[in-house]
Symmetry: C2
Subunit: 402 residues, 2 copies
């Protein structure tokens, strides 16, 4: 019998308990051992809840109980969650989490701490919710030198961009609609400014390189500046606008990682990923492209990912093994996002179009729309492009092409 404690009985935590209890028999059949939720840590009481009797308020009860094999940290944040995770690992209890912020900040350190204490730290649910991407990178893609990861990693922004494209509506009104539907937070900054996607690509880039990629070192651009006219141009180009989180290998040493809106072809695998769905496209040196698609959030999808870790941790505990994950504390080498040659869409007021075209000689005119003229510029770094735009003296909006 494997005994589990769940830290935090919120959305994800209660989902984890639900998955473990509702699918208990089939999970036991697959693991070859029963899994029981012994404790739920929460500051609140839950009178009437069927798991009321499992709720404890003092984390010490869990840490001091040698019967607890696995701790699911579904609290979020980097304060108590960090302390409790360290306590559990130090006590030889394996930990799994859905907490992307903690994983991004302390992943390498916590993996090392687990290894030193003969237990494991797992975080499938921290990226892509129910999409099994972390374990896939650590196992299925272990033969590969991963050359690129491109992800639609945030459901809120993908919903907003999908609606703006389909309805021709502006950002503010679609955001309000998303908030009313519960797809966006009242304070949407973490999503719409790209921070959430940035944390997730930092985690994936760390696994891609085996070294530490910090969120703070990643260039991040959100979707708040995307306007209805951009979707008109995208349509003319046979493209959709998506917030793409990217990590690209430059050479044997360095990678580039950033988050920014991109215009991607409609028939690109990521081009059909709409609404709140997420997807991750991985390019390996042997495999070529593989894409993983599903619900990036949601109570039970995320909980299912946490429970897949619980099962792996249970198996590892029974066999006394460590689970595969290479992520050292050494810093990965990051190149600036604006130095690599790429392709861009740029637009400016049609009256200024000649001025712009004169400073960017390679610019190819796409179309006019709503008093704006759009161009495609190939094989230019963002730095060079910004320099040219500055010299032009006109007001320009740009979106990357991918």
């Amino acid at each position: 019998m494997i005994k589990v404690a769940v830290l935090g009985y919120g959305t994800v935590g209660s989902g984890v308990v639900e998955v473990l209890q509702d699918n208990r028999e089939l999970i036991a059949g697959r693991l070859g051992e029963d899994i029981e939720v012994k404790y739920i840590l929460d500051l609140r009481d839950f009178p009437g809840d069927k798991n009321e009797s499992l709720v404890v308020h003092d984390v010490k009860t869990i840490m001091d109980d040698p019967e607890v094999d696995i701790v699911c940290e579904t609290m979020g944040g980097v304060g108590a969650a960090y302390e409790f995770t360290k306590s559990a690992l130090t006590a030889g209890k394996s930990v799994c989490t859905s907490n992307k912020e903690l994983v991004e900040k302390h992943g390498a350190e916590l993996l090392k701490l687990a290894s030193e204490n003969g237990c494991n730290y797992q975080f499938e649910a921290s990226v892509g919710g129910g999409i099994p991407i972390i374990r896939v990178i650590n196992t299925s893609l272990a033969p590969e030198r991963i050359d690129s990861i491109k992800g639609i990693l945030n459901g809120t922004t993908n919903y907003i961009l999908t609606k703006m494209a389909d309805e021709g509506a502006d950002y503010a009104s679609v955001l309000k609609q998303a908030q009313d539907l519960g797809y966006a937070e009242r304070n949407p900054e973490a999503d719409v400014e790209g921070h959430d996607a940035g944390r997730k690509i930092a985690i994936l880039a760390s696994l891609m390189t085996g070294k530490d990629v910090a969120y703070d070192d990643i260039y991040i651009e959100g979707i708040t500046a995307v306007e209805p006219v951009d979707f008109k141009f995208a349509d003319r180009l046979g493209r959709r606008i998506k917030l793409i989180a990217r990590a690209d290998r430059n050479d044997d040493v360095a990678i580039t990682a950033f988050v920014a809106p991109h215009m991607i072809p409609k028939d690109h695998p990521l081009g059909g990923v709409n609404d709140v769905f997420n997807a991750v496209l991985v390019t390996g040196n042997m495999l070529g492209d593989a894409m993983f698609y599903g619900k990036g959030a949601g109570k039970l999808a995320t909980a299912s990912a946490v429970v897949s870790d619980v099962i792996d941790l249970g198996r590892a505990k029974l066999a006394g093994i460590s689970l595969p994950c290479v992520w050292s504390e050494d810093k990965a080498v990051l190149r600036a996002h604006d130095e690599k040659k790429e392709s861009f869409f740029v637009r400016t007021a049609s009256v200024d179009a000649d001025k712009l075209a004169s400073v960017i000689p390679g610019a190819t005119k796409v179309a006019d729309a709503d008093g704006q003229t759009g161009y495609v510029v190939d094989d230019i770094s963002e730095k060079e492009l910004n320099g040219a735009i500055e010299r032009s003296g006109v007001c320009v909006r740009k979106i990357r092409l991918a």
Copy 2:
């Protein structure tokens, strides 16, 4: 040091050697142990090949060498491949394979034999080429009761259907084009009649149920009867025609498994899977939908999947553990494919349309095209529908909707 023997130096076998050698250093970094190809079994010699010295002609050399930990069976067929796999497992050597025919026929038995001999049998490459679906089902989806698997599991037929849709061409001319490009065999029967997809869905259905699902018990319909006019109707319905291999849970006991062309909505995740690409859409009771997309075939993509197994087998060997896979020799309960109520597209010559509509009262007219009239019929089993068509006495073509 883990030592590997590769059986068969054909397309996949030589790809396995290439992946293991070219990515040797990074694989060793992830496994924590070097992997070396010690033998290549083939009847032929390979003068001038850089691995010429590794080639042996007698399988006994491999089976008798206690240094060989892992055998990669990339021969194909169910004759020698079956015998050699049994010999290796009996000798305690773990085996991985890309051989879907052997896995479909003897998977449960070989898993049992491996378990009895303290080693493992793995077959990631047998379904979906480079798409990591087998390991995902066995690990990431272990918390789930899988309710449905829908796959585009054959690249040749997907290429043909994509071209027929895009070019309005007929089956025979597109098949010829596919053959000229090397996407279809000279004898295309295994692909175009759905047998290849049938073997693959039999394997996935076995993993879904944990019991044995035999290819022979699966209803299989290929793509040879799909005509250009069907694509016109599909387009009117906002759909694409895809050869879908399905396994659906009916209840706690039984599943339905079959292969047949389906009209699926263009914005369905499988609707955007074109050309030779494959994809598998899995629906779990907690997770909802997750889709896995990539190259279903190809030397290096398939080889990468074999090597992901080699790495897992190496890890398992070092730790002395068995890898998770539930697939018993008990027969799964299969319900007939034609008893479940579904939706269908049917068409007949427009002159016969009234006769058809009169025997299928629920039929909704879609459109006329090329002298044919098309209908959608909802909530009817194929058996009932066939009965009605027979009573109508007219010639009818039907394609499932999904």
